[in-house]
């Protein structure tokens, strides 16, 4: 005979934990556990959370849960409320501040506390201390999350503002930008900051494989589907279940596969190659391309419906030449990275070298800059990197496409002086080599002021600075 609900006591008003003998089980867990009622008051905490927060179970019963864990969960709205409404478990990353005034990175998993009657009594919040994971990530990559993406330029600031918004939703994302602008990093950062971060992030290059192989790579195949298919293959869509599938070079995706991708996006299910049974997946799609998809649609090589389906959220990454403010930041970052990795005692670049790099257009963008710095740090035998330590291709470099440098070509003289040649004017002129960042900054200010006819507000806007910062810099460089 099935037990009556009243016999289990779940419908009574006595605390839930009196009915469930789970306290010792909770105490054995190496995760912080917090039970809160519907009013978000603490029902109980486990021993691990006592250690993590510095509060004992007895003193916090009845206290608002957020006062005990001191998390940044509230900056995500009311996740407990959302869990209670949706009845779905939610995973979020954030941090807490404990009684020792230490900020601890934590992964929160919030689940509804449901009685057998179906009534929601509150929520269970699991807190996983991920400090070690974060430390490890920092050691491996130097940075974590989207800290890997650097930039102070106004265009990058716009991207940084959009990233958290993009991470919060489950909509498809289209990342566009020239090669080497960091599309992969942005895609990974979105995944890491999203609720799917615990699940896989899988990257597939749509331009790297022929159509048939790509179909099998994406959707998998069943045994015997084609010659050589001697066993079932799950495919990337299935492997990315719960997580994110990053389709890079989506502009190179063959038309027949575009239809199949569109179907998966709409129905969340597909047939593996040679299979007769549909497979359901829960995958978020992030696509990237260096091509102009709008133009491909006009040419008829990219499906318009797929374009609109992918283009829900659009991030366009600027090329390095449009991120003037970031050039020195990135140069310095890569220099430090390679100096540390290669255990070199190199102190920096000399002025001629900086000038040469500043006037280069970097068609390969940040990837190219990184490679150049790696080459230079490797090649440089002493403390200062000079132009001869740069790749030879750079020394006979192509003209920069920026208006000021578009018609110039640089030649390096034996004395280290840079001579800019203008094809239109055979008479070469010597560029004064700046002595350092100060000079470059001064030049930037003057250019901005000239461009805006002396209007300081607009010049500040152009530089991505506040008016007061520009004023300070003008004063500093004695330009007033």
């Amino acid at each position: 005979m099935p037990k009556k609900k009243t016999q289990t006591g779940f419908q009574s008003k006595t605390p839930l934990l009196d009915q469930l003998d789970v306290s010792s089980l909770l105490d054995s867990m190496i995760l912080g556990v917090l039970f809160v009622d519907r009013a978000r008051r603490v029902i109980t905490i486990n021993r691990f959370l006592e250690a993590l927060t510095g509060y004992s179970r007895e003193e916090v019963v009845g206290v608002q849960g957020e006062n005990v864990i001191r998390s940044n969960l509230s900056s995500n709205g009311d996740p407990v409320g959302r869990v209670l409404t949706s009845e779905q478990t939610m995973t979020l990353e954030g941090d807490i501040i404990n009684q020792s005034r230490k900020k601890i990175p934590v992964r929160f998993t919030i689940s509804p506390l449901q009685l057998t009657s179906g009534q929601k009594e509150g929520a269970m919040i699991l807190l996983e201390d991920i400090s070690l994971l974060k430390d490890l990530d920092n050691k491996i990559h130097g940075f974590s999350g989207h800290e890997k993406i650097m930039g102070n330029s106004p265009k990058m600031q716009e991207i940084f503002e959009l990233l958290p918004i993009t991470a919060r939703t489950d909509a498809s994302v289209l990342i566009t930008g020239e090669t080497g602008t960091g599309k992969d990093l942005v895609a990974e950062a979105i995944h890491k900051a999203s609720k799917r971060s615990r699940f896989p992030f899988i990257k597939v290059n749509c331009g790297a494989l022929p159509e048939t192989l790509l179909e099998s790579e994406l959707f998998g195949h069943v045994r015997g589907a084609f010659t050589g298919a001697d066993k079932d293959k799950p495919g990337m869509f299935r492997l990315a279940h719960g997580g994110t599938l990053f389709l890079t070079e989506i502009g190179d995706l063959p038309l027949p596969l575009q239809v199949k991708i569109l179907t998966v996006l709409d129905d969340k299910e597909f047939f593996p190659v040679g299979g007769s049974k549909k497979v359901s997946v829960d995958v978020r799609i992030i696509a990237a391309t260096h091509r102009d998809l709008g133009e491909l649609v006009r040419q008829g090589t990219f499906r318009e419906d797929l374009f609109y389906r992918l283009n829900v959220l659009r991030l366009h990454l600027p090329p390095l030449r449009e991120r003037e403010d970031d050039f020195h930041l990135l140069l310095d970052h890569f220099f430090r990275e390679f100096r540390a990795n290669l255990k070199k005692k190199t102190k920096g670049f000399n002025a001629a070298c900086l000038k040469l790099l500043s006037s280069y257009s970097f068609p390969g963008n940040i990837r190219e800059l990184r490679n150049i710095v790696e080459y230079a740090v490797n090649v440089c035998p002493d403390e200062t990197i000079r132009p001869e330590h740069l790749p030879k291709t750079l020394l006979s470099m192509e003209p920069a496409p920026s208006p000021s440098a578009a018609s110039t070509r640089a030649t390096l003289r034996e004395n280290g002086e840079i001579v800019m040649d203008t094809p239109a004017n055979t008479a070469a002129f010597t560029m004064p080599v700046p002595v350092g960042w100060g000079e470059v900054e001064k030049d930037m200010i003057l250019k901005a002021l000239t461009k805006t006819g002396g209007n300081r507000s607009r010049a500040a806007e152009l530089l991505g600075w506040s008016r007061s910062k520009l004023w300070r810099k003008i004063k500093h460089h004695d330009l007033a």
Binding site: Q64, E66, N67, R70, Q99, S100, K102
Partner: protein, 117 residues
């Protein structure tokens, strides 16, 4: 003595760095002098609250969880900090005026009207 409390509705805010509202009040010989001021901050920033506390010549700051960097900075600026306080800010203020407020205090009104779930 000028007292600053980081608040969230009627309670001491759980996190110093995520506080968007503060209460500043002046006390003399255990009594409140003048009208307490509630200031809504344009954003949430621990640095901004530190700056404000210095600008306002605050002598005592009462808050919830605070990072050690902010705590040490305020201490260096000769501001006494009573942190980790849980409960209604009014009770926190009165306890502070009678010199009874301790770091990490869970005030009687912290659980809703002292009621246990």
């Amino acid at each position: 003595m000028k007292i600053l409390i980081t608040i969230q509705k009627d309670e001491v805010a759980p996190r110093f760095d995520l506080t968007s509202e503060i209460l500043i009040t002046e006390t003399q010989e255990g009594k409140i002098t003048g009208e307490p001021r509630i200031i809504l901050l344009p954003g949430t920033s621990g640095e901004d609250i530190c700056g404000l506390a210095i600008k306002e010549n605050v002598a005592l700051l009462i808050c919830g969880g605070i990072e050690d960097t902010h705590y040490q900075y305020l201490k260096w600026k000769k501001i006494k900090v009573v942190d980790g306080v849980i409960g209604p800010h009014e009770q926190a203020l009165h306890s502070a005026m009678t010199n009874d407020l301790r770091p990490g205090a869970i005030l009687p009104g912290a659980s809703i009207h002292g009621e246990k779930p």
